[in-house]
């Protein structure tokens, strides 16, 4: 029933991601996020603040230290001037794609595996962000700007080996304040690590989005008759003689899982979205876009 997951080569992944992200306008994260920025970004914010570039000379006021006075400018007139610099963007985005064995599942030969679709979305989003001048990295790597970073992300997405087990949790220790985090997973494993991650992220002021990528088989549960269900790694098993009778209960549990995640995301000011591998990836990308814009 389950076919071998479609694995993408580096070239295919890049080409697909370029195509998916071509229609997006450059992403500019809102100014609100800059306030708590700790690390410098690449974008001038049209106001004075800590940064590299010159912004303006202003007359020195009380409180300015003698060190801050620009003596060359001051020597041309009688007053003392201070050299202000333009404040810079500290914003960075961290993207995480689950490598659990279940992500390699695809219910049909004409559909990509969930992992292939998640990789595609992740890279397309990265490219859009990078085109907007943001710093992007996969979770755990230092965020970097620039077109070449897309290459690195694509490289590590493709070369990353799938895990043998059913569970993969986002790395909570890689969270940095002010980051934007996007998690791609099927969220069919144990939900507790995700809930913990969300509460920790909320505590650090990190915001982001959860994207649940599912195969239509997982949303529709089309089986009937006697079926021996095995998880992708084979660790979990459920044998039934009437799979058709389990459909209702399964769908109820899936809805319950989604509600749990959605509520947790809301509490952490995160967004929770779902994506079906049979649907167009652009749809999901637009949703992610809007989730990151607010």
């Amino acid at each position: 029933m389950s076919t071998a997951p479609k694995s993408l080569t580096l070239v295919e992944l890049r080409a697909g991601a370029e195509a998916a992200s071509a229609g997006l306008p450059a992403l500019m994260l809102s100014a609100e996020r800059l306030a708590a920025a700790l690390t410098a970004g690449a974008h001038g914010q049209r106001r004075a603040g800590p940064g590299e570039d010159f912004w303006q000379y202003r007359p020195a006021t009380s409180g300015d230290t003698a060190r801050s006075i620009d003596w060359r400018r001051s020597a041309r007139s009688d007053g003392q001037f201070v050299r202000d610099r333009e404040a810079e963007v500290p914003q960075s985005a961290s993207i995480w794609v689950s490598a659990a064995a279940g992500m390699d599942y695809s219910g049909g030969a004409n559909r990509p595996s969930k992992r292939a679709r998640a990789d595609l979305l992740a890279l397309a989003l990265s490219m859009a962000l990078l085109d907007g001048g943001e710093r992007v990295a996969l979770a755990g790597d230092p965020p970097r700007p620039g077109r070449f970073q897309a290459e690195r992300i694509a490289q590590s997405l493709v070369t990353r080996p799938p895990l043998a087990g059913d569970e993969d949790a986002p790395p909570a220790q890689a969270l940095r304040p002010g980051q934007r985090v996007i998690l791609f997973d099927d969220f069919l494993g144990d939900p507790q690590p995700v809930l913990d991650y969300l509460s920790r992220a909320a505590g650090m002021g990190v915001r982001g989005a959860l994207m649940q990528v599912l195969d239509p088989d997982e949303e529709g549960f089309p089986w009937t008759g006697a079926v021996l269900f095995r998880s992708a790694s084979g660790a979990l098993k459920h044998d039934t003689r009437d799979a058709g009778g389990l459909r209702e209960a399964y769908l109820a549990r899936l809805a319950e899982r989604r509600e749990l995640l959605g509520r947790a995301a809301l509490n952490a000011s995160w967004h929770f979205g779902t994506h079906d591998t049979a649907a167009s990836p652009a749809q999901a990308l637009l949703w992610l876009w809007s989730a990151l814009e607010d």
């Binding site: 029933m1 389950s2 659990a100 064995a101 279940g102 992500m103 599942y105 219910g107 049909g108 969930k114 059913d166 099927d186 069919l188 494993g189 144990d190 195969d215 088989d217 997982e218 549960f221 089309p222 089986w223 009937t224 008759g225 006697a226 079926v227 021996l228 269900f229 095995r230 998880s231 992708a232 979990l236 098993k237 459920h238 044998d239 039934t240 003689r241 009437d242 009778g245 389990l246 209960a249 399964y250 549990r253 899936l254 899982r257």
Partner: protein, 648 residues
């Protein structure tokens, strides 16, 4: 046999298996289809769920029907259904079965046994006693009538004999004793004939016909027999009871690696077929190279499993026995000067050589005696007797004959010789050595190539005589004879007018010499295969290899020597067909011989026994196979359908 309307069953008890069909239906119905194994990442969500309706999905009813029908067809098929079977012969009464058990019954022996078993089954069903008269010549005394079941047990152990079918002697008192237990009337006789006439058949038939109805079942296929006609040019007689094209005759023997295999295939259609009173006889010449012929161990008719279709080869087919008589003293020092040396080298590849004095070698009854430069033969009477019986005497001239003063009176020479001989190429003669003229087309040497360098320097000259030209087989270019021949009784005498070594001629060191000798030896009459010894010397023949009725060779389990008197009577009880040895002689006793068709006045002949009813077994089993194939297709289609639904 159970008959239901037009349908009969040979094994009706198998039909009881049909009772099991409903149980099979239930089992098939309850058995769920095999579960599918699915890798599903959402398995965690399923943990702990319970089946709402834990009932197996049923196999579709049409698949069930297919399977049950297939099993029913199998059961019916194995129960041996026959459409409109012929009813068994009518009548009540003790059953006497006359079973021809000679080699001619071997090819369809299992069918014969099956037919008799059927009759016995019926007799035992009716509670009638039965008796079995096995016509292989071993039975004697009164024939016991027993319950049919006991007779059937005896019948199963019977095999055909490796000799002709033999009936009890057609003398009134013997027949009366044999049939002492049989009723005087109301006896049902079933005679499984091998289709051939054998001594005593008519008398037995008459005696049985008096007591009741006789049903004869003749064989359905033609009988074939093979017989070897020994002689100078041995041939095979292939006899058949039908004029159709007979199968090929195979010459089996050992190949150069020592493995038994087919050496030659003799075409039986080439010779003209002679049909006489229903028996078609073909004479097949064994025209094979002598090297091949000497290796043949048996001839057999292809595809015929019977002892009568096999001819075992013995001495009569084998190599000629050649005796060399001559002065061999030269061999001790100068081998190449010995005349015997060249003869030996020429003859060893194709013949059995014996050497010794004339008296000694004649006792071994050779086919050919070669004497080299012998004069004043001492033992003329024995030699004359041997020649008279068909021996071939080949003599070579030489210096001793040339020096003899009584050459003109010498016996056992085809021509009268002049004393002194003739030198034509020597140092003191004028002439050149003479070559040979080409051989005449009708002589024994016809077709041999005469090498140009074969010359003769010295020879013995024949006295001119009116019949000299007739006696001459080869001559020199000046017309003087080189080889002459004359008959003597049934035998013949041949003289080479020159020496057998290189002293007088270089003929002895040419290839022509070898070929001439082989041609001459082949004209020798093969010695008779029958023991030609005096009755005082009554030899016993010990079986070395015997055939069973099917023509399979085996070692004799209990070799009983057969006296020469019985041996000449041919194969029979106590002397089955096979190879027998007495001393150094090996003789074959073959079962096949003349055939004669049997006729059955006053008896009911059951014809075309096999078309009695249409056997439905094959059709039903084929139907079952077809249904099972459909079942497999249906199951595959079902599985595919489920799979597609799973993918949707």
């Amino acid at each position: 046999m159970l008959t239901l309307g037009p349908l009969g069953f040979l094994a009706p008890w198998l039909l009881s298996a049909l009772i099991a069909l409903p149980a099979i239906w239930l089992i098939l119905r309850v058995m769920p289809p095999a579960p599918k194994l699915v890798r599903f990442p959402g398995t965690r969500l399923l943990l702990g769920l319970r089946d709402a309706h834990p009932v197996a999905r049923h196999t579709p009813w049409w698949l069930l029907l297919l399977r049950v029908l297939a099993i029913a067809a199998l059961i019916l098929g194995f129960a041996g259904p026959v459409w409109k079977p012929l009813p068994d012969q009518a009548g009540q009464g003790p059953l006497l079965i006359v079973l021809d058990a000679g080699w001619a019954a071997a090819p369809d022996w299992p069918e014969r046994q099956a037919r008799v078993l059927r009759a016995l089954d019926r007799a035992s069903g009716q509670g009638q006693p039965a008796a079995l008269l096995v016509a292989d010549g071993t039975a004697s005394g009164t024939l016991p009538f027993q319950p049919a079941g006991e007779v059937a047990a005896r019948l199963r152990a019977l095999t055909p004999a490796a000799w002709e079918t033999r009936y009890p002697e057609a003398r009134t008192e013997i027949l009366a004793e044999t049939l002492a237990e049989a009723p005087q009337s109301g006896l049902l006789t079933l005679w499984l004939s091998d289709g051939l006439d054998h001594p005593g058949r008519a008398g037995l038939l008459a005696a049985l016909a008096v007591r009741g109805e006789v049903t004869v079942i003749p064989p359905t296929s033609a009988r074939l027999s093979l017989e070897l006609i020994p002689g100078d040019r041995p041939a095979l007689h292939l006899r058949a009871t039908s004029p159709g094209t007979p199968p090929a005759v195979l010459a089996m023997g050992l190949d150069p690696q020592g493995m038994p295999r087919e050496l030659a295939r003799l075409d039986p259609t080439k010779p003209e077929a002679v049909t006489e009173s229903g028996i078609t006889t073909r004479m097949i010449q064994i025209e094979l190279p002598s090297e091949l012929r000497n290796r043949i161990t048996r001839f057999e008719i292809e595809g015929q499993r019977s002892a009568g279709a096999i001819v075992l080869a013995d001495d009569s087919l084998r190599r000629r026995k050649v005796a060399l008589v001559g002065d061999d003293r030269a061999t001790e020092t100068q081998r190449l000067l010995s005349p015997l040396h060249y003869l030996r080298r020429a003859l060893i590849p194709s013949t059995d050589l014996i050497e010794g004095g004339l008296e000694d070698v004649l006792q071994a009854s050779p086919d050919v005696v070669i004497m080299v430069d012998q004069i004043g033969l001492p033992d003329s009477e024995a030699l004359a007797a041997w020649l008279d019986k068909g021996g071939l005497l080949i003599r070579f001239a030489g210096p001793r004959m040339a020096a003899s003063e009584h050459l003109r009176d010498e016996p056992f020479l085809p021509v009268t010789l002049r004393e002194g001989g003739r030198d034509i190429g020597g140092a003191l003669s004028w002439g050149e050595p003479r070559g040979l003229t080409p051989f005449p087309a009708e002589g024994p040497f016809s077709g041999l190539n005469v090498p140009a360098d074969a010359t003769v320097r010295a020879q013995l000259l024949a006295e001119p005589a009116p019949d000299l030209a007739q006696k001459t087989l080869a001559q020199l270019t000046d017309g003087t004879p080189l080889v002459t021949r004359a008959p003597y009784g049934q035998g013949q005498m041949v003289l080479f007018h020159t020496s057998a070594n290189a002293e007088w001629t270089n003929l002895a060191i040419s290839g022509l010499f070898v070929e001439m000798l082989q041609r001459l030896v082949q004209t020798a009459r093969a010695s008779s295969p029958q023991p030609d010894t005096a009755p005082a010397e009554d030899t016993f023949w010990t079986p070395e290899q015997v055939l069973d009725g099917f023509g399979r060779a085996q070692d004799p389990e209990d070799p009983v020597p057969v006296s020469a008197g019985d041996f000449t009577k041919g194969a029979g009880p106590g002397a089955p067909a096979g190879l027998y040895r007495a001393g150094e002689r090996v003789a074959a006793l073959n079962a096949g011989g003349t055939l004669a068709l049997a006729d059955w006045p006053g008896a009911r002949v059951e014809t075309a026994a096999r078309t009695a009813g249409l056997d439905l077994r094959g059709w039903l089993i084929a139907l079952a196979a077809l249904l099972f194939a459909l079942d497999a297709l249906g199951s595959a289609w079902l599985a595919r359908g489920i799979g597609q639904r799973g993918l949707a």
